[in-house]
Symmetry: C2
Subunit: 240 residues, 2 copies
């Protein structure tokens, strides 16, 4: 939280409350990143212990969400934040919703990995899914870094990578559909991989959402439903 | 908004602001319901005009979200809402996020419907998907009714229907996978139907989220990540 630019208040208590909230978002982010990393090892390397780990740890992510939500409500009720403090609290409330859902998607991937292992149907090539997993993990990490430093330029950079994630995802879907046509017996196992790829694509979208909240905090402007080009122009101050 | 129980303030202006926000959520809800209804007609009856309608109207849903979000930020900054007013504003901010995403899912179904029509591949039976669509439309309508009246008991009732939606969705997935195994040439068209069913299942989940925010508003307690049984016990005041 070195560069976070919320106002400094005469009340040390208030400063401490805001810092604690942001630190907890970062801790929640680390946990969610670990969940996603474990899910990908389970899926790609067929590591059942890591899969079990993901499935049984989701409650920790949920607990973070509820706790941070309560802290935000407390600050809104007691401190009446204004300007950038208010935008910070709103950005936090929205960010933790997306982080929690990213945790859900990681759990889903973990379940699919276990499902594939149970049925011993790990015949399908995982290279493309592994590559998408790496890109999406990089996006999530970048989104959380942008959040930690409230860096709008980095947020825009991360959000722009979503085009590549979408393209990789669509290629995976095409190839998996082709595999199903060629080998109908493998439909069930291919579907597990398809759902996992879908979850990764959703995680990329949600990482972009977090980037949008960072831009909202920094610029005080809602950039959802605008193009990346517009967002980039806003973030760099180029308002043609 | 007849039974909405936010505090009545000496400031008529403040009352008017809160009423306007809730009315706009209801208008946004009506629009999203219409989008979903159009998407289902496009999918089940192969009505391309309705499909086009859904795809070209999504921007209206997005505009509602941004406008209501701004109104909530304004109220938080100027009015410093406390107690039930604060819970109302938080419930609204979360509800409109889910409504916007339900709009996105409806748009996706509209696109799948057009895709199926373009390729003239409408051979797969739609009865099960139509039935899931009806259930999910009923759930969304119920969630919005519960929101309009801030009726926790109705919210719990709607949320409990999600078990049935999940069961119907899983049956559809099983049957569609079987169809792909039996007729590999139809994989592409079946996938379009599968994605549509998936979107419906997600709309059911998001309708449940809205129900949880209603219970949060009424009870002042976060019921996410708790079972329906616990939620029902809370809503009826039975706190064993």
């Amino acid at each position: 939280m070195d560069k976070m630019s919320f106002s400094h208040h005469i009340s040390h208590q208030y400063n401490a409350e805001l810092s604690k909230i942001v630190n907890n978002v970062m801790r929640m982010g680390e946990l969610v990143q670990q969940q996603l990393a474990d899910a990908m090892v389970a899926l790609v390397e067929g590591d059942s212990a890591r899969g079990e780990q993901v499935v049984t740890s989701d409650y920790k992510v949920n607990a973070f969400e509820v706790r941070i939500d309560e802290a935000c409500t407390h600050v809104l009720a007691r401190r009446h934040p204004a300007a950038s403090d208010l935008r910070l609290v709103i950005a936090v409330v929205k960010t933790i919703t997306d982080l929690e859902r990213i945790g859900d998607e990681a759990e889903r991937i973990g379940r699919m990995a276990l499902h594939l292992l149970e049925a011993d149907r790990r015949r399908s090539p995982m290279e493309e899914v592994a590559a998408l997993g790496e890109l999406v993990q990089k996006m999530l990490h970048g989104a959380l870094e942008a959040f930690a430093h409230m860096d709008a330029a980095q947020a825009v950079k991360v959000a722009q990578e979503d085009n590549q994630a979408d393209a990789q995802y669509e290629a995976i879907v095409r190839h998996l559909m082709q595999s199903m046509e060629e080998d109908p017996k493998s439909v069930a196992s291919i579907m597990d991989i398809l759902w996992s790829a879908r979850s990764l694509e959703r995680i990329g979208d949600r990482s972009c959402n977090i980037c949008e909240y960072v831009v909202y905090f920094v610029l005080g402007k809602d950039v959802r439903h605008t193009s990346f080009e517009q967002m980039a122009a806003e973030a760099t101050g180029d308002r043609r």
